[in-house]
């Protein structure tokens, strides 16, 4: 990723042939292809969450007071701790990708395990939170016993569970994949193709983190100054 390649690939530089002729490094070519593929996929993922954000915007603009009242039932301390956990996991993931690119296999493997551990910690906290919300009767459709302003509160918690639930599924997939790759790194020397796998996995992980960065203020920080 040098400065000279900082341009749209608009010329007729067909890559497969270039490396057939030996003037392109097949490993670098594969890394760039994989990361383009992942960025396109992340565009898709962002659009997937986008529909949910529009639904939230609808609710928030139509009944701001109702949303504010409902949001006081979320556990802002747990949400904040979880945000910190997830941001830290991204830091570990960035270091893991860096180690992999430096071909430091052991370090990459350890950092991946650390990343997954933070991811799991997030899911555990989230699980505890869900448990508390179940106990408090905040689960629309299944167990919803909130007295005041039920209409907007129901929709608020409906969106809360859909959004954080889908986010948690994404994170669980991320944790499983990180552990799987860490496990495969245990003995073998680090061949080139695994570096691009880890690189791409890192992009996915950071994206899931970025989604949470938006979910956090939308669900936890609405009305803390009451």
């Amino acid at each position: 990723m040098s400065a000279s390649s900082r341009e749209i690939d608009a010329g007729g530089r067909g890559e497969p042939d270039r490396h057939a002729r030996g003037d392109v490094d097949p490993r670098a070519w594969r890394e760039e292809t994989a990361s383009l593929g992942m960025w396109v996929f992340l565009a898709t993922e962002l659009m997937f969450f986008g529909g949910l954000f529009l639904a939230y915007l609808y609710l928030r603009t139509h009944d701001p007071e109702g949303v504010a009242a409902a949001s006081t039932h979320t556990h802002e301390w747990l949400g904040t701790i979880n945000t910190a956990i997830l941001l830290t996991s991204s830091f570990a993931m960035a270091l893991a990708v860096h180690a992999a690119k430096d071909a430091r296999r052991k370090a990459a493997q350890r950092l991946l395990v650390v990343t997954a551990a933070f991811g799991l910690a997030f899911l555990v906290v989230k699980g505890i939170e869900y448990g508390m919300e179940w106990r408090d009767g905040l689960v629309p459709g299944l167990r919803f016993t909130l007295a005041e302003n039920t209409r907007t509160a129901t929709l608020f918690f409906f969106l809360y569970f859909v959004a954080t639930g889908i986010h948690a599924v994404h994170l669980a997939i991320g944790v499983a994949t990180v552990l799987w790759i860490a496990w495969r790194l245990r003995a073998a020397a680090l061949p080139g193709w695994r570096v691009d796998e880890i690189d791409v996995l890192g992009l996915y992980w950071h994206f899931v983190d970025a989604v949470w960065i938006f979910l956090y203020p939308l669900f936890y920080l609405v009305n803390l100054n009451a």
């Binding site: 890559e15 042939d17 593929g37 969450f49 529909g51 529009l54 907007t152 409906f158 969106l159």
Partner: protein, 528 residues
């Protein structure tokens, strides 16, 4: 050794990563669904022969048009050209040996099959009666049919579209042969690239919408439920944010096919090549700005309606550029009326009628009269059936020698094309008139004064059915008894014609080098 001879077992097909074989797997799957959706349409047209609802009950009728819509939109039209012809041809047209992610490509086919299973399951279990649009609150509160299973099928099949789109985008960016610059790419590749952008950006919004819909139906709480302070129009915004661009998913690749065929059989370089490229991107981009014209009478704000109306008129500009350029390509061309050319010309004519009547519907005042009438039905069938299906069949004929290595019967091909064109117009033109007279869609009975036009339409449907069965017969026949095709029977110019028919597994024995603009046809040159 051709890609067809790489292995003859079922296993060799079902585990293939060859984009050409995956294209054929898709072709087989969507053909099954085309005839399933067609069968539903046939019963609909039979019912509408008489004003009374005498053949099927109102409930069954609702289920029939829902099956027809769901199957034709998501299991035939969306994957039709990109996933079959696109998969087969796109890598070859840019001089690549494979797509960027071959394993993802076969996974996308399996996802399609999984989604199809859910949809077929929903049909077998008793059907769905919401219409293909799944409007709330009908789909969430009132319908007693298998909405969730059908929605699951559509949700799942969306991911196969997304993976195909992702694959095409990365393939076009990363796999082009040396010398294959952006402005040397065939328009078919441009069209599929733009389509892929829409697939990748619009489909996930539908996926989330369907998740919300299914949750709402299962838990009886939801953001689309007005009783809870939710908004049914939110569903429509989200749904049409996908489903209007989806129209361009269907028609852009068709435009790509028509461009390839017309320039070949006019023996002339396509007129205004770069404008065609920009028009393709323009249509893909504008396609995202106009969804609200489906909601003029839904209770949407009148001001938003005006904005959407104006934007909708603007889509006509790039579309018109394309029609003008096809016409200008024909001008002083040395035109050969082969079967693919008949399909392509049919496409241009029918697309033009469909597009022009789209402008009627983009005008708010007129739309109030025409919404939910047969005028709308006729309009989008002119685009989707007259446009996309004609182009798909034209493409199948055009590239049949390349795909199968066999020549089909040209005489029968022309008979088929003309039959379909005639049958299509007889079916759908009367529906414009019916709609203008005020016959609403989605009813199984109607006032007796509409009967004559409905009989014409149903008669046309019978002709159309024969027209669609014909290619199945003579193309199938050609597989076994057709003459062997040479590498380039049409003397066409694309890279796909520079390799054997059928191509070897790796497409090209040597990576081609490109040093010229596409479509270097010579006007004086005739087919051999």
């Amino acid at each position: 050794m051709s890609y067809l001879e790489e292995g003859f077992t079922l296993r060799s097909w079902l585990t293939t990563r060859d984009h050409k074989r995956i294209g054929i797997l898709y072709a087989l799957a969507i053909t099954v669904f085309f005839f399933l959706g067609g069968a539903a349409a046939a019963i609909i047209r039979l019912e509408l022969l008489t004003p009374q609802g005498d053949l099927v009950s109102a409930d069954t009728y609702n289920k029939l048009f829902t099956i027809h819509g769901v199957v034709m939109v998501w299991f035939f039209l969306i994957p039709s050209i990109p996933s079959t012809l696109g998969n087969f041809l796109l890598p070859m047209m840019i001089g690549a040996r494979e797509v960027a992610f071959p394993r993802l490509n076969i996974i996308s086919w399996y996802i399609y099959v999984l989604g199809a299973t859910f949809t077929v399951g929903a049909v077998i279990a008793g059907g769905v009666d919401t219409g293909w649009t799944f409007y709330t609150p009908l789909s969430t509160l009132f319908s007693n049919t298998h909405v969730v299973a059908a929605v699951m099928g559509v949700f799942i099949v969306g991911f196969s579209s997304i993976l195909t789109g992702l694959n095409f985008i990365v393939t076009v960016h990363r796999m082009r042969a040396p010398g294959m610059t952006w402005f040397r790419m065939p328009l078919f590749v441009w069209a599929n690239y733009a389509t892929s952008l829409i697939l990748v950006l619009a489909t996930p919004v539908l996926a989330m919408t369907l998740v919300l819909l299914a949750t709402e139906r299962l838990l009886h709480v939801g953001i689309f439920d007005p009783a809870l302070g939710g908004d049914p129009l939110l569903f429509q915004h989200l749904f049409w944010f996908y489903s209007h661009p989806a129209v361009y998913i269907m028609v852009l690749p068709a435009m790509g096919v028509a461009s390839e065929i017309i320039t070949c059989f006019a023996r002339k370089r396509i007129f205004g090549y770069k404008f065609m490229c920009y028009a393709i991107l323009g249509i893909a981009g504008f396609g995202f700005l106009v969804w609200g014209h489906h909601m003029f009478v839904s209770g949407q704000s009148a001001y938003a309606g005006m904005v959407f109306s104006m934007l909708s008129f603007m889509v006509a500009v790039p579309s018109a550029i394309k029609v003008f350029n096809w016409t200008a390509t024909l001008y002083k061309g040395s035109i050969e009326f082969t079967a693919p050319m008949l399909y392509a010309l049919g496409f241009v004519g029918l697309f033009t009628i469909g597009g022009m009547t789209g402008l009627y519907l983009a005008a708010i005042a007129l739309d109030v009269h025409l919404t939910d009438t047969y005028f709308v039905i006729a309009h989008f069938h002119y685009i989707m059936v007259g446009g996309s299906v004609m182009a798909y069949l034209g493409g199948i004929h055009f590239w049949w020698p390349k795909i199968t290595g066999r020549l089909y019967s040209e005489a029968w091909g022309r008979v088929g094309a003309i039959t379909i064109f005639a049958g299509f117009n007889l079916t759908f033109f009367p529906q414009y008139l019916l709609g203008f007279l005020g016959m609403p869609r989605r009813y199984h009975s109607y006032p007796p004064e509409f009967q004559l036009l409905n009989i014409l339409s149903s008669a046309g449907a019978a002709v159309l059915a024969v027209g669609y069965l014909l290619p199945l017969i003579y193309l199938g026949w050609s597989l076994f008894l057709g003459k062997r095709a040479s590498p380039n029977p049409w003397h066409a110019r694309g890279l796909e014609w520079k390799t054997a028919s059928p191509p070897p597994k790796e497409n090209f024995h040597e990576t081609p080098e490109v040093d010229a603009v596409p479509y270097a046809y010579n006007p004086e040159e005739k087919l051999a």
